[in-house]
C-alpha cells in the first residue's frame, strides 16, 4: 500500500515519543516525590535540580487545574493520595482543606523566619509560602488622555464618570473574582456589600468568567486592547507588564488602585498530604519552599511575594509592583462559613 511508509514513520515517531525522554539512571535509584500544584505554579529548574541532587530525589509536579479543582481532586483522592505534598491552597479555601483533614502537621524549623501574621493555621498543617494582593489595575494612558482622575476608593467606582470602565471576574468561576468580592464584603460588611454591587451594576460594571478574559480581552492596557481601562488583577501585574514588555519600556503602562480595602490579600500554603510514604523527603521539600533560595525564586516565577521577610526582591518588583498600605481581610473561618452563600447572593444580585 502506498501509505505504508507514512504509517511506519508515524509509528516510529510514536515509539520514540514514548522512549526518547527516559533519563539514564544515576547512582542508587533516586527517591520519588510527587508535588501536587495548581496550573499557575512555576519554579526554576536550578532550585529543583539542587534539591534533587542534595537529597537524591526525583521530584514530579502534578499540575491539577486551577486552585479550586486541585483542592477538590485532593479531597476526592484523600484515601489514596495522588501526591506527597500539596502546594497552592490559599486563605479563601484553606478551611475546606483543613476540614477535609488533608494534611499532616509539620512544624518546620524554617517557620521561625516567617512572620506570624501569615501563619493562619496554628497547628501547622498548612504552612504559608507566598502572598499577593488582588487589586484593581488601571490603564495609566487612558486616564491621562481623558483627563480623568484615578478613583481613590471602592465608593468612587460607582460614580458616573467611571461608568462602564471596570471589568471584574465572576466570583463563582474565578479565584481572582472571589478575592475582590471578599474585599467588598470586608469593606461594606454583610449588610452593605450587595447594595454596593447593585450600584456597580447600575454603573455598568462588566463581568467575565475569568482573569484571562478580563485581562486580555477586556482590559485596554493589555495586548488585547479591550474596552475597559480598569480590571481586577494583581498588585504585581504592572511589574509583569514591564518584565514581559516588547519592546522594553522604562515605565509600567498600568498601576494599581491602592485606596483602603481596594485590595484583598491572598496567602498560599503548602502541606504534607496525609498518608504519604515519603514523610522525611516531604518535610525536606516543605523546608525548601520556606527557605531563601526558593523564596527568592518565587516573585519572577509566579508574580507573588515571598513570605520570608529577608528574601531579596527583583528590581522590577521593587520599582513597579505596588503593595497597598491597608488590605481588606477576613478570617479563613468566616470565609469558609459564608463563601458559597456570598457567591450565590452575588450571582442573584448581579447576574440575574
Amino acid at each position: 500500500m502506498k501509505n505504508t511508509p507514512l504509517l511506519l514513520t508515524l509509528f516510529c515517531l510514536l515509539l520514540s515519543a514514548c522512549t526518547s525522554q527516559a533519563t539514564p539512571a544515576q547512582s542508587p535509584a533516586p527517591q520519588p516525590l510527587t508535588v501536587m500544584t495548581h496550573d499557575s505554579f512555576s519554579v526554576s529548574e536550578e532550585v529543583v535540580a539542587a534539591f534533587e541532587t542534595a537529597n537524591n530525589a526525583k521530584v514530579t509536579f502534578l499540575q491539577s487545574g486551577d486552585a479550586g479543582s486541585m483542592l477538590n481532586k485532593a479531597i476526592l483522592s484523600k484515601n489514596a493520595p495522588l501526591a506527597d505534598v500539596l502546594f497552592g491552597v490559599d486563605n479563601t479555601f484553606l478551611s475546606r482543606a483543613l476540614e477535609a483533614d488533608l494534611f499532616e502537621p509539620y512544624a518546620s524549623p524554617a517557620l521561625a523566619n516567617i512572620p506570624a501574621a501569615f501563619q493562619l493555621d496554628p497547628s501547622n498543617r498548612a504552612l504559608p509560602v507566598d502572598y499577593g494582593d488582588v487589586c484593581i489595575n488601571y490603564d495609566k494612558a487612558y486616564f491621562v488622555e481623558n483627563a480623568l482622575a484615578v478613583p481613590q476608593s471602592l465608593e468612587d467606582l460607582t460614580k458616573p464618570e467611571y461608568a462602564g470602565l471596570l471589568v471584574v471576574e465572576n466570583p463563582a468561576t474565578s479565584s481572582t473574582g472571589l478575592a475582590f468580592l471578599l474585599a467588598t464584603v470586608a469593606h461594606f460588611g454583610e449588610d452593605g456589600y450587595l447594595d454596593y454591587w447593585r450600584a456597580l451594576k447600575a454603573n455598568g460594571v462588566v463581568v467575565v468568567d475569568g482573569w484571562e478574559t478580563a485581562y486580555y480581552t477586556n482590559f485596554s492596557a493589555s495586548s488585547g486592547r479591550g474596552p475597559q481601562p480598569m480590571v481586577v488583577s494583581y498588585g504585581t501585574s504592572p511589574a509583569a507588564e514591564v518584565i514581559f514588555a516588547d519592546p522594553p519600556v522604562d515605565d509600567a503602562p498600568t498601576a494599581s488602585l491602592l485606596g483602603p480595602d481596594t485590595c484583598f490579600r491572598q496567602i498560599e500554603f503548602v502541606g504534607i498530604l496525609k498518608g504519604t510514604q515519603n514523610r522525611a523527603l516531604a518535610e525536606k521539600f516543605v523546608d525548601l519552599m520556606l527557605g531563601k533560595p526558593f523564596q527568592e525564586d518565587v516573585p519572577l516565577q509566579m508574580f507573588v511575594y515571598p513570605v520570608h521577610p529577608n528574601a531579596a526582591l527583583p528590581e522590577a518588583f521593587v520599582k513597579y509592583a505596588q503593595a497597598p498600605a491597608q488590605t481588606a481581610s477576613l478570617s479563613p473561618e468566616e470565609i469558609a462559613f459564608n463563601r458559597d452563600r456570598w457567591i450565590q447572593e452575588w450571582t442573584d444580585a448581579v447576574m440575574k
Binding site: E45, S77, L82, S237
Partner: protein, 569 residues
C-alpha cells in the same frame, strides 16, 4: 435499475448470506466487540459510574436544586438547537460545494474549515475579539467611515463560535456521503424527466439522510455539552448543563447536584442517540465510489461556487488570519500616542519561544510541544481506528445486540469531562500520571466520530458488487481490494482526520488526566495566557499560529491519501 428500489431484497440476501457464511455468528460478534467494549468499560463506564453514584445521595433532588436544573436544561436545549440549525445552514451547502465541484484552492479551503475544530477556546475567543470586539478590526474599519460600531451580543457570539467550530463536522460527514453517492441514481431520475429540485428532494436528500442525521447528531451533542465557548464568550450568566456541572463540582464541591446534572445530560444524550439509531437503521443504501466532481459549468453553478467560496473564506479565514497577524505585529509600539494605534512588525514573539527566560522547570521549547502534540495525535489515530473498525463493522450489520449497543457508543460525547475526570481520580488514583493515558483519553472523544463515519460507509458497500466480483472468479482478497477498500479508504481518512484534530485540540482531556511531563501546544498556549505582559500574549498567539500551521499541513497530508478519483469498475 436504481439500487435503492430493490434494497429490501439486498437486505434479506445479506441476512441470509450472513447466517450461511458465518460458522458461529455470535463468536464473530463477540470478537468484534471485545476490544471496543473493554476500552469503554475501563475508561468510561466504570469511572463514570463511581462518580455518578453521588446522584443517589439524598441531597441531590432538593427544592433548591430543581430550579437550577430546569433553567440549565432549558437554555442548553435552546442554544444547542439554534446552533445546530445555523451550522447545518452553512455546513450543508458547503458540503455540496466540496463534494460536487472542482475549483482552485479547494483542498486548502477544505482544510481551513477544519482548523477551528482543534483550536483552544481561549484562542478562538481571542480571535473573535480581535475581529469583532469593540476595538477589533471590523470596528476599526467601520469607525473609519463614521458608521456606528457593531458589537454582537454574547449570545450571538456563542452561536457564531459554535458554527465556527462545528461546520467542519457537516462538511466532512455529509460531504463524504455525497461524494460517494452513485451518480447513476440521479442520472436515472433526470432521464425519467425529474428537474433538479425534484432530483434533490426525491433522490439525493433521502439518500443523504443517514449521514445528515449523523452529522446533526454530532453537532448537536457538541453544542449540547458546550463549555469553554459558553464561559469565555457568553460569561456564566449563560449556564448550560455542562457549565453548571463545572460550577457545582469544582467551585462548590456539591457533588450530588453535579452528579444529578451529569446523569440528566447523559440521559438526554442517550435519548438523542437512540432516536438517531431508530431513524437510520433502515437506511443503508448502496454507494459506489465514483468521481462526481467537476468544475462549475452553468451560470447558477458558478454563482453558487463563488458565493460559497467567498462566504467560507470570510467566515473562516478572517478570524483565523487574525492570529498570525497578532503574532507578527505588535499593536502598542508607542503607548504614549493612543489616539492612533501604531502597528509594528516583529518576529520577537517567535524567537522568544525558544528562550527559557525565567529558567522555569515548566518551560517547553516549541519544537518539543509540537512533537508531543503530533505524537499524541498519531497514537490517537491508530488507537481510535483500531477500536473503531471492529465496532463499525458490527454496527453496520446490526443484530439485536447492536441495536442495544449502538446508542451507547455516543455516550462519551455527552458526558461531562469534569465529572469523568473526578471519576478517574477516585477510580484510578496514581495511574493518572502516566503520559501513556493521554491518547486513551483523546480516543474516548474521537471514537464516536470514527464509528459514526465508518459505519455508514461499511453498510453501504453493495453486496451485489461483491457477489458479482466473486462469481467472476475474484478471490476474497481481490474483492476486498477492489470493492471494499476504495469505499472504506475515503471514510477511514475522514475518520482519521477527525481523531487527529480531536487529539490536537485536547478537548478537555486536561480535565481528565494530570500530566507532569510532555506538555502539548494547547497546554503551552494556556500557560502563556495565564500571566500578564505583551510578550506572553504575543507568544500565545505565535504558539496558536504554530498549531494552525501544523493542523493545516497535517490535514492536507492526510487528504493526499484520498483515492484518486476511481474510474468505472
Amino acid at each position: 435499475m436504481p439500487h435503492a428500489l430493490n434494497h429490501r431484497d439486498t437486505e434479506t440476501q445479506r441476512k441470509n448470506r450472513f447466517s450461511v457464511l458465518s460458522v458461529s455468528p455470535w463468536l464473530k460478534r463477540i470478537a468484534l466487540w471485545v476490544l471496543p467494549l473493554a476500552f469503554l468499560a475501563v475508561f468510561f463506564f466504570f469511572p463514570l459510574s463511581r462518580i455518578l453514584a453521588f446522584t443517589l445521595s439524598p441531597e441531590a433532588i432538593t427544592a433548591k436544586n430543581l430550579p437550577i436544573t430546569a433553567s440549565a436544561l432549558l437554555f442548553t436545549f435552546y442554544q444547542a438547537f439554534l446552533s445546530t440549525l445555523l451550522t447545518l445552514l452553512l455546513g450543508f451547502p458547503s458540503a455540496v460545494l466540496f463534494a460536487r465541484f472542482d475549483f482552485r484552492g479547494k483542498s486548502l479551503l477544505r482544510a481551513l474549515t477544519a482548523v477551528p475544530f482543534m483550536l483552544p477556546t481561549v484562542v478562538v475567543a481571542a480571535a473573535f475579539n480581535s475581529l469583532l470586539g469593540q476595538r477589533g478590526l471590523l470596528n476599526t474599519l467601520i469607525t473609519n467611515y463614521q458608521l456606528p460600531t457593531f458589537t454582537p451580543s454574547p449570545f450571538t457570539l456563542i452561536l457564531l463560535a459554535h458554527v465556527f467550530y462545528n461546520t467542519t463536522i457537516v462538511i466532512r460527514i455529509a460531504g463524504t456521503a455525497l461524494s460517494s453517492l452513485d451518480p447513476q441514481l440521479e442520472q436515472t431520475a433526470r432521464s425519467l424527466g425529474a428537474d433538479s429540485l425534484r432530483v434533490w428532494t426525491n433522490v439525493t436528500l433521502p439518500l443523504l439522510r443517514p449521514s445528515l442525521l449523523a452529522a446533526s447528531l454530532l453537532v448537536f451533542l457538541f453544542d449540547f455539552t458546550s463549555f469553554g465557548v459558553i464561559l469565555l464568550l457568553g460569561g456564566s450568566q449563560f449556564a448550560t448543563l455542562e457549565v453548571e456541572i463545572y460550577l457545582q463540582a469544582v467551585k462548590f464541591l456539591n457533588l450530588p447536584l453535579a452528579a444529578l446534572l451529569s446523569t440528566l445530560q447523559l440521559l438526554c444524550t442517550l435519548i438523542f442517540s437512540t432516536l438517531y439509531s431508530y431513524l437510520v437503521t433502515r437506511n443503508s443504501y448502496p454507494l459506489a465510489p465514483r468521481s462526481t466532481q467537476h468544475p462549475p459549468r452553468t451560470f447558477q453553478q458558478k454563482l453558487f461556487v463563488s458565493t460559497f467560496c467567498l462566504l467560507l473564506s470570510a467566515f473562516f479565514l478572517a478570524p483565523l488570519a487574525s492570529l498570525p497577524a497578532r503574532s507578527l505585529f505588535r499593536l502598542e509600539a508607542d503607548r504614549g500616542q493612543r489616539a492612533q494605534i501604531q502597528y509594528g512588525f516583529t518576529a520577537d514573539y517567535y524567537t522568544e519561544l525558544f528562550i527559557n527566560r525565567r529558567g522555569s522547570i515548566f518551560y517547553v521549547p516549541p519544537i518539543r510541544a509540537a512533537f508531543n502534540s503530533l505524537a499524541y495525535a498519531s497514537a490517537t489515530v491508530i488507537l481510535s481506528l483500531l477500536l473503531g473498525f471492529p465496532a463499525a463493522f458490527a454496527l453496520a450489520k446490526p443484530t439485536r445486540l447492536e441495536k442495544i449497543l449502538d446508542p451507547l457508543i455516543m455516550l462519551p460525547l455527552g458526558s461531562s469531562a469534569v465529572m469523568l475526570g473526578l471519576g478517574f481520580i477516585i477510580t484510578y488514583g496514581k495511574w493518572l500520571t502516566s503520559p501513556l493515558l493521554v491518547p486513551f483519553a483523546h480516543t474516548l472523544v474521537a471514537l464516536p466520530f470514527v464509528i459514526r463515519t465508518l459505519q455508514p460507509a461499511i453498510a453501504s458497500i453493495p453486496d451485489h458488487l461483491r457477489q458479482a466480483a466473486s462469481s467472476l472468479g475474484a478471490s476474497p482478497l481481490e474483492v476486498w481490494k477492489h470493492i471494499d477498500l476504495p469505499i472504506l479508504r475515503r471514510a477511514a481518512l475522514t475518520a482519521a482526520t477527525f481523531s487527529f484534530t480531536v487529539s490536537l485540540g485536547e478537548f478537555g482531556a486536561t480535565l481528565l488526566i494530570a500530566r507532569p511531563e510532555y506538555p502539548t501546544i494547547p497546554v503551552a498556549i494556556e500557560r502563556f495566557l495565564s500571566q500578564p505582559g505583551g510578550l506572553n500574549y504575543g507568544q500565545a498567539m505565535a504558539m496558536a499560529t504554530l498549531l494552525m500551521l501544523i493542523t493545516t499541513a497535517s490535514i492536507l497530508l492526510i487528504e493526499k491519501f484520498r483515492p484518486p478519483s476511481a474510474g468505472d469498475f
